[in-house]
Symmetry: C2
Subunit: 333 residues, 2 copies
């Protein structure tokens, strides 16, 4: 069996980040870290899909503005989202005038973007890469479950798809102390769960498989990291991961989850917490990135997790595969 | 504006290919080049989506068998398809036990896979990479247009989505004379067409934009290449591309198109020809690859083209963006 982990010869600087958070996310505990919070998740558009595209375009523009760059300064963009045929990314890239490589690994997409972007920069194929993801509660619910107009009751294991867009600039020549030093490519797992409302349960085996491969490949213990942050397993999924990890000898005392961090569970009626391609995008690009820049975390393992279902696969009775990629961020001077 | 083209320091060998063609494709002019032709496009499954997944799994197994390798010999796979959330790839990779990076650029997906795979190998991040794509007439028609059961009449500009799966092995240590020497990343174009039956017209601006960038970046004329092969513009689209190219000074005397090559237009009732993520996959991995290995073509520019629509974007009245990536194959001893 081959090593799943790529080590970068020249750690890849995370130069700048931008986030646009939805109204509900803006009422959560991370509000003060977001760059921009929306008043209205329809953004004066005629559909939530249009709103998601506008939000995604805007976050890329805001990233370039914050970095004082134009589209012509960027070698390429890796982007993805949850909508069929990743239209929120395709249509955002139509505005952006940047060479585009579309990716899809559901809510693990940002991990894939970081991994590919780092390879391009470390290998000398690009100097500046944009990684971006987006998700929207209303578009995801309509596509994967039920339209909001139905008023369906949410199940206890469900999570709340985050409304937001996040864009990250990887820049070879940046002096940012936050760098990507290695990354582990995940394999698809499927433990036979077919409940499209239990994303945490579906994704735990993928997170554990990739975490285990990462620790084996690097020869590290879990406590090498100040923080291990999974993508969006939520509360129940996170507890399950910690228990399963302990059974194979991995003690995750330093674990948290973007789906837990993004909402106030008691006050915000989100059941198991947040999910969606931009759940980990909003959390990493605001809160975690700022904490790393401030030196509060020096070694962080980021494990976005994705459930690889479609409404067709669900309606045809298939179980739900999942994937997770691991990205190692370290503060180096 | 930055260069869109990546030059590989060590040309990347295309070590092995595998193709599974549908029954209709097996009646076309390239039949003798395919590795395997199906008798029945349902493959004894309960739906065409299941059949597409079975076909995609099988072509990856066949590739590994032909190369005398196992999954454990492969560093990672880049795969994609046309179905919502690329389920034909996700579910195929569930069987494959190979680290997986899902990509989506519609019918330009194989170009993206070749580009990313070459970067991984040339940069020393992988030794062996699998690139694979799949498409199926029945699943694509149901998803993007109408279910076949409706018996809708096909419009004159329509193309026929190819049923097939194609997998390619890029191997750093192979002695294959066919190598990828450079690649150009495309940008998203949109000329305002909203007819989901006119894929050729939609994708011409993307093909032209990438071809022009490629020739500018490399300082080459079109006649540097023995053959320039676009993905699936079909007959009308190909003529339009040639005319548009001539207007900006590019003479495409050596141009053909995978959508033209794959069917016998008169006998097979396909209107403008073939399309679909695996149209260029079947044509490159069988006919073109064999011609290159035999030395009949020494320099070939491959320009898969993708229309970045979804049924939601079409129903909401959006126009159709498109993208194309260019991959330069050369025979070197």
């Amino acid at each position: 069996m081959k090593n799943q982990t790529i080590f970068f010869k020249n750690p890849v600087p995370v130069a700048e980040t931008a986030t646009i958070a939805g109204p509900k996310e803006g009422e959560g505990p991370l509000a003060k870290y977001f760059h921009h919070i929306l008043d209205d998740d329809l953004l004066q558009q005629k559909s939530h899909e249009y709103a998601e595209i506008v939000m995604h375009s805007a976050v890329i523009r805001q990233l370039l503005n914050r970095a004082k760059l134009t589209a012509g300064d960027i070698d390429c963009a890796f982007a993805g989202d949850l909508l069929d045929e990743i239209i929120s990314s395709n249509f955002a890239m139509r505005e952006a005038d940047i060479p585009f490589l579309g990716v899809y690994n559901a809510c693990a997409t940002l991990g894939e973007c970081f991994l590919l972007g780092s390879v391009f920069i470390d290998g000398g194929y690009a100097e500046r890469v944009v990684c971006s993801v987006t998700s929207h509660f209303a578009t995801a619910e309509r596509q994967f479950r039920y339209p909001l107009e139905l008023g369906s009751q949410r199940t206890p294991l469900s999570q709340w798809t985050v409304t937001g867009s996040a864009a990250t600039l990887l820049d070879k020549n940046s002096d940012s102390p936050v760098k990507i030093t290695c990354a582990t490519i995940g394999k698809v797992t499927d433990y036979g769960i077919n409940d499209a409302n239990d994303m945490g349960g579906v994704m735990v085996p993928a997170a554990l498989s990739t975490l285990n491969a990462h620790l084996n490949d690097t020869g590290r213990d879990a406590d090498y990291y100040d923080l291990i942050v999974t993508g969006d397993l939520g509360h129940a999924g996170s507890r399950l991961l910690e228990k399963k990890a302990e059974k194979i000898g991995i003690k995750m005392k330093n674990h948290t989850d973007c789906g837990i961090l993004i909402y106030n569970r008691e006050a915000q009626d989100v059941n198991q917490g947040g999910s969606g391609a931009c759940c980990c995008g909003l959390v990493f690009n605001s809160y975690l990135y700022k904490k790393m820049r401030a030196g509060e975390y020096k070694r962080l393992l980021f494990l976005p997790t994705g459930a690889l279902l479609s409404k067709t696969s669900s309606l045809q009775g298939e179980t739900i595969p999942a994937i997770s990629h691991a990205i190692c961020f370290e503060v180096t001077e």
